[in-house]
Assembly symmetry: C2
Homo-oligomer: 211 residues x 2
Amino acid sequence: MSVALKKPQKSARKPKGDGHLRRGEILAAAERIFIAEGYSGATIRKIADAVGVSSTALYMHFRDKDQILLEISNDAIERLLELNTQIASRPIDPVSRVRLMLEAYMRFALDNPNTYQLVFCTTGDHISSDKVGDTMALGDRCFEKFSEPVHQIAAQGRLRSGSAVQAAEVLWSGCHGLVSLLITKPSRTWSDAEGLMKVMLDGLLHGLVTD
Amino acid sequence: MSVALKKPQKSARKPKGDGHLRRGEILAAAERIFIAEGYSGATIRKIADAVGVSSTALYMHFRDKDQILLEISNDAIERLLELNTQIASRPIDPVSRVRLMLEAYMRFALDNPNTYQLVFCTTGDHISSDKVGDTMALGDRCFEKFSEPVHQIAAQGRLRSGSAVQAAEVLWSGCHGLVSLLITKPSRTWSDAEGLMKVMLDGLLHGLVTD
DNA sequence: ACGGCTGAGTGATTCCCGTTTAGTGTCGGG
DNA sequence: CCCGACACTAAACGGGAATCACTCAGCCGT
């Protein structure tokens, strides 16, 4: 690894060492460990060891442990938002859009179980960081992206019952319920995940939307 | 209720005084604190203080902290099972039964958020207790009680798609998703919970069951 | 060349957690 | 009266997050 990175800054005190690279290294290590071992497995000391610094050094770059994990959460939600944005740009009918988004959502959850749990299965009340606002805003944008086609369906008068917002919340939470149980209760004997996802989507969409 | 503690002792040196009352006292205090402050708030020392003994004393009656919480979980699931049993005995059609059970389930969750989270929103992999088997068995019985009317519906050929087991799992997990999000993300602005529950039930039942 | 400033990093320490160990007082049966 | 089991405790351990006082290295203007 060459250290040829430099920032052309005028009165720059900055580029003395590789200090500002650390932040990224820490995040990368933290994400790796967290994905493999979950929240409680991703210890401050373990992360620090992986980076090659003392545990105290993490507090140079992050307020506390939760801020590190929060940053990882934000990345995840951003990826989710990007998925939705990509689907939103496709020239298809709104019901297909809704289905694709929910399908992508559930696949994302099953592919990133620890991250999904961190973002969607825990109360965030112990977090004192100021970045919580960012996370919530991102989550809201993600939900709104998903709501758009639902509103289109509602505007077509094809909602069987309830408002567009209610329908969106029910669709989301229904799919969330399925993947969250699959993730947190793997010891239970479940039907095939693919089949369950299909039944959930068929059921909810058929139940909420007229064709 | 009463735990059969067998001691290979001839002359039953029965309790001198309040020894075996402690277990109940501890459980009561633990439940109270846990309901109010959640898992991490229900500290061993805090529970011990509430009972009026040293923290070590809890280990006279329970293997570890998780066993205390597990006992609370089991009580909760038993209450749920009783709800389902009660509803199962009512002379009504299976769809109404399913709806009533799911409604009772969701109300139970919203009324006991911390307990619900403990039972249904966490992986139980850190628990080393032998009582985990009990919990899982109770949960299975609870799910089977709920599955019965779903199987009846399936036997009537009224399932729109998927198997009876799939339908039961989807119905359950959909409702779980709604209440778990309401519980873990209270800071989000949700539609009215009652309305959401209704839309979820109407949607899922209409989507999965023909009338 | 030099001393001060500052950012990066560290070892020791604090606090709280669950849990363990070794020990204390007390009661009941022989 | 004594012995042992019981219910319990004080003290400690190890491992978490977080803080503190401190060092070290490079850049600055003089």
